[in-house]
C-alpha cells in the first residue's frame, strides 16, 4: 500500500466521524508522509497498520467524551429548537418536493418494468410465431413440398432466435434489477453511516 492509498482508505474509514475531527486526522497523516524520507514511506505505511483502527479509536474516544458531557446544553437545545422551527416552515415546500421526488423515482421504476415486459412480449411472440409456422408448414407438405420446407425453415429460425433473445433478455434484466437494488442499498447504508 502506498501513502496515497493509505490516505484514501483513511478518508473512507473516517466516514461518520465529525468533519473537523476527520479533517485534523487526515492532515496529521498527510503531514507525516510529507515529512518522512521517501525511502521510509513503505515501512511507515506498514507500521501505521489499518486506517480502520485509527478511525475506530477516534470514534471510541468521541463516544466516551460524549458520555462525559452534560446530556443537553442550553446552546444545543436552542439549536434544536431552531432546527425544528426551520423544518416546520420549510415543510410546505420540502414535503411536496419530497413526494414529487418519490413519485418520479417510482414512475421511472414502473416504466423500466413496462419496457422490460414489452421486450419479453416481443421475444416470446417471435418464438411462438416461429413454432406456429412450423406447425402450419406440416399442413403444406401434401400440397407443395418446397413451400412447406421454406415455411418450416423460417419457422425454426424464428423459434430459435426468439428463444435465444428471451434467455438473453432474462439475463440482462436480472442484471439490471440486481444492480439497481444494490445501488439503492448502498446509498441507504452510507446514509445510515452518516447519520
Amino acid at each position: 500500500m502506498t501513502s496515497a492509498q493509505y490516505l484514501a482508505d483513511l478518508r473512507l474509514a473516517l466516514k461518520g466521524v465529525p468533519q473537523k475531527e476527520a479533517q485534523d486526522c487526515i492532515e496529521y497523516f498527510t503531514e507525516l508522509f510529507a515529512e518522512a524520507d521517501p525511502a521510509e514511506q513503505e515501512s511507515l505505511v506498514a507500521r501505521l497498520g489499518k486506517p480502520r483502527q485509527v478511525a475506530a479509536q477516534l470514534r471510541a474516544d468521541a463516544a466516551v467524551r460524549h458520555m462525559d458531557e452534560k446530556p443537553v446544553s442550553p446552546g444545543n437545545g436552542l439549536r434544536t429548537l431552531w432546527l425544528v422551527l426551520a423544518s416546520i416552515f420549510a415543510a410546505p415546500i420540502a414535503l411536496p418536493i419530497a413526494i414529487a421526488g418519490f413519485a418520479v423515482a417510482f414512475a421511472l421504476l414502473i416504466s423500466l418494468l413496462a419496457v422490460l415486459i414489452s421486450l419479453f412480449a416481443v421475444t416470446i411472440s417471435i418464438a411462438a410465431s416461429g413454432l406456429f409456422m412450423v406447425v402450419v408448414s406440416l399442413f403444406a407438405f401434401p400440397l407443395h413440398t418446397p413451400t412447406a420446407l421454406l415455411f418450416m425453415g423460417c419457422g425454426l429460425v424464428a423459434a430459435a432466435l426468439g428463444c435465444i433473445m428471451t434467455v438473453g433478455l432474462w439475463k440482462l434484466s436480472a442484471l439490471t434489477l440486481r444492480g439497481l437494488s444494490r445501488g439503492i442499498n448502498k446509498k441507504q447504508i452510507s446514509r445510515r453511516a452518516e447519520a
Binding site: C25, A36, R47, L48, D61
Partner: protein, 106 residues
C-alpha cells in the same frame, strides 16, 4: 521484550518531549519512538486526547509550501507532567526494589 505502556505513561512521554520546546508532529513522534515501540497512528489519538484535555495546544506554521502543525505544552500540561513524573519515579523505585533486591529487607 515489550513492556505494556499505559496511557498515563504515554502522556508523560509526549509532555516530556514538549517540555523541552515546541515541535511538530513528525519530530515529536520520532522522539517518542526512540524510547518506546509505538506507531505514529497509535500516537495520534494520544495527541488528540491531550489537546482536548487542555494539556497541549497546536499552532500551524508553513514550511516549504506546506503546513507543519506544532505542539506546545500548556501550564496545565506542565502540572500534569509533574504529577505523572512523580508517580513514575515512585513506581520505578518500588519495582527496582523488588527486581534487584527481592524486596525491602530492613
Amino acid at each position: 521484550m515489550n513492556f505494556q505502556l499505559g496511557s498515563p505513561l504515554l502522556d508523560g512521554c509526549v509532555l516530556a518531549v514538549l517540555g523541552h520546546g515546541d515541535t511538530y508532529g513528525y519530530v515529536l513522534t520520532q522522539q517518542i519512538r526512540q524510547a518506546v515501540d509505538i506507531s505514529e497512528s497509535t500516537l495520534y489519538p494520544v495527541l488528540r486526547r491531550l489537546q482536548k484535555d487542555g494539556y497541549l495546544q497546536v499552532y500551524d506554521q508553513s514550511y516549504q509550501g506546506r503546513n507543519r502543525r506544532y505542539y506546545t505544552i500548556t501550564d496545565q500540561g506542565k502540572a500534569h507532567f509533574t504529577a505523572i513524573a512523580d508517580a513514575w519515579k515512585r513506581y520505578c523505585r518500588n519495582v527496582d526494589t523488588i527486581m534487584f533486591q527481592g524486596g525491602n529487607h530492613d
